[in-house]
């Protein structure tokens, strides 16, 4: 379908298939909106993964100290995983709604005002400021996504840390290793494969992210928070441009496949050699 001329409802109904080669793809990559989408996906993925990994490992290390109440904290950090992106988006959209500045601040801006931090107020996800293709309006969306999924990376790291043989750590202690050395020399290398899994899983979530952005901000002014999945949805189901929609879907599939296939193949090879 992505190679066809089916860009209106009537053409689809006629069912007459005209092959147009890669035309839909050429048009797509020349489309400024799609270019914005790709930049947005890139930066969203980058910061979202970095945020989840660093927060996840920090929380896991804190909880791994085995202090009283760790269990409660762990459950608290993980519960957003049980909530749908749609609910998350709805709530965060209210928290980060900028209101009308400077007189009628809303959400976080209002909280800043109550705390006397007016200088921190800004227009959040309606901001059109962009630094080298990075639309700052994405920041609130990234925060919401990190809120939802950092508990996941925490759980993965925590499982990794708890699986480490305590005898190994005791031995290192006897040899006079400091706790910092133990972390970097023993624990960190063990956690590396977990990091890889986490990057793959978070990466494929963020490349196809839709629900969260759709329910939180939509495309935003000048498409500052637009992503391919939203473009695909609107162009297909609102504008009936099926061929363009298919082309976007295929681009998304390729992006995800580039991340996933090598990972699956390598894990299959490991399996066979076992």
């Amino acid at each position: 379908m992505s190679f066809s001329n089916w860009n209106s409802f009537s053409k689809l109904m006629k069912g007459e298939y005209i092959f147009v080669g890669l035309r839909n793809y050429f048009r797509l990559f020349e489309d400024p909106r799609f270019q914005t989408d790709l930049w947005n996906t890139l930066f969203f993925t980058l910061f979202f993964i970095l945020g989840c990994l660093s927060l996840g490992i920090l929380l896991a290390v804190l909880l791994d100290k085995g202090l009283k109440g760790s269990r409660i904290f762990q459950n608290l950090f993980l519960f957003p995983m049980a909530i749908s992106f749609v609910v998350t988006g709805t709530v965060w959209s209210w928290i980060f709604a900028p209101g009308i500045l400077p007189k009628f601040p809303q959400g976080m801006n209002l909280l800043y005002k109550l705390l006397g931090l007016e200088s921190l107020q800004w227009s959040w996800y309606t901001s059109t400021v962009s630094i080298f293709h990075f639309n700052l309006a994405l920041i609130p969306v990234i925060i919401a996504a990190i809120w939802q999924l950092s508990g996941y990376t925490m759980a993965m790291y925590l499982a990794g840390l708890r699986g480490i043989d305590q005898a190994l750590i005791e031995a290192a202690k006897v040899d006079g290793a400091t706790s910092r050395q133990i972390f970097w020399r023993i624990k960190f290398p063990i956690l590396r494969p977990i990091t890889l899994s986490a990057v793959i899983i978070l990466g494929h979530i963020s490349l196809k992210i839709f629900d969260l952005v759709y329910s939180m901000t939509g495309s935003g002014p000048n498409n500052v928070t637009d992503v391919p999945a939203i473009y695909m949805f609107e162009t297909t189901f609102r504008a009936n441009k099926y061929a363009t929609g298919s082309a976007i879907a295929i681009v998304m599939l390729v992006m995800v496949a580039v991340v996933i296939v090598p990972y699956l193949v390598s894990s299959m090879k490991r399996e066979v050699s076992k």
Partner: protein
């Protein structure tokens, strides 16, 4: 550990707890406010007087969709769990040519962006006259639930000693009889993990739901919630109460069976 570092750890943990609780605070405090109290200046304050107005209204609007979600989730979860367990049995205990390749292909299905299968899927549902109905969604979620349910059961059955199965074979039991008499009775923990996972995911899913069901009376709760926000004047207390209603079933499952939820989560990430 020294007292200072202990204190420091707790302070950090509490700061992060605040970050995790902000949305929940806003969600709960707003949903209990009467409409006249829902104003921008007061969004960070607790309601002066708790009111169920928001909940009553949200429930009126969303109760058919809540029902739809249950109609969708229950059969889809059970069937995908059952089929997944049979798949898991076959892939872990019966080695045949290409079984690893098949398994990898099934896993790829777990990561596939739903967008890229939307058209074929819609066409398929149209051809069997289930497009636009909740049963169409049930079928989709059964199919797209299979990769993860298969994966979890395969790992679960990998721990069952193969001798047990061989012994049953020697006693003359066929493949299905082995599954039914030997594996199925010990599968309960596996089923709990898979059912919780599927329940949560299907309940929270949005893209299939919004594209397959366009009639508002047939939509599951996630779609109805977004539409609620789309209306011109947003009554935030109703909106937040609705969000809370939509999140409640999965949250309850999480609170009651969190241990199994975590297991499902990790099963999806630790391969092989």
């Amino acid at each position: 550990m020294s007292r200072v570092s202990k204190l420091f750890t707790y302070i950090l943990l509490i700061i992060f707890t605040l970050f995790f609780l902000i949305p929940i605070y806003v969600l709960i405090s707003t949903s209990f406010k009467p409409l006249q109290e829902v104003s921008l200046e007061k969004m960070w304050f607790l309601p002066l007087k708790a009111s169920f107005q928001g909940f009553v209204k949200a429930f009126q609007k969303l109760s058919p969709n809540l029902k739809n979600s249950f109609i969708l989730v229950i059969p889809a979860t059970i069937i995908s769990a059952l089929v997944g367990s049979i798949n898991g049995y076959v892939l872990s205990k019966i080695k045949f040519r290409g079984s690893n390749l098949l398994f990898t292909l099934i896993l790829f299905g777990m990561f596939i962006p739903y967008q890229s299968v939307l058209f074929p899927v819609i066409r398929f549902l149209q051809s069997i006259n289930l497009y636009g109905s909740i049963w169409g969604l049930v079928i989709l979620h059964i199919i797209y639930g299979l990769p993860i349910t298969t994966l979890i059961f395969r790992n679960y059955y990998a721990e069952v000693p193969t001798e047990l199965i061989e012994a049953a074979h020697i006693d003359g039991a066929g493949i299905f009889k082995v599954y039914w008499k030997v594996l199925f009775p010990i599968s309960l923990p596996g089923f709990v993990v898979v059912i919780i996972w599927q329940f949560t995911n299907i309940w929270n899913e949005f893209l299939f739901a919004v594209t397959v069901t366009s009639d508002p009376t047939k939509q599951p709760i996630t779609v109805a919630l977004v539409n609620l926000a789309g209306s011109k004047v947003v009554e935030w207390n109703v909106q937040m109460a609705g969000a809370l209603l939509a999140a409640l079933p999965t949250l309850l499952v999480y609170v009651l069976l969190g241990k199994y939820f975590l297991r499902g989560l990790l099963a999806g990430s630790v391969k092989g």
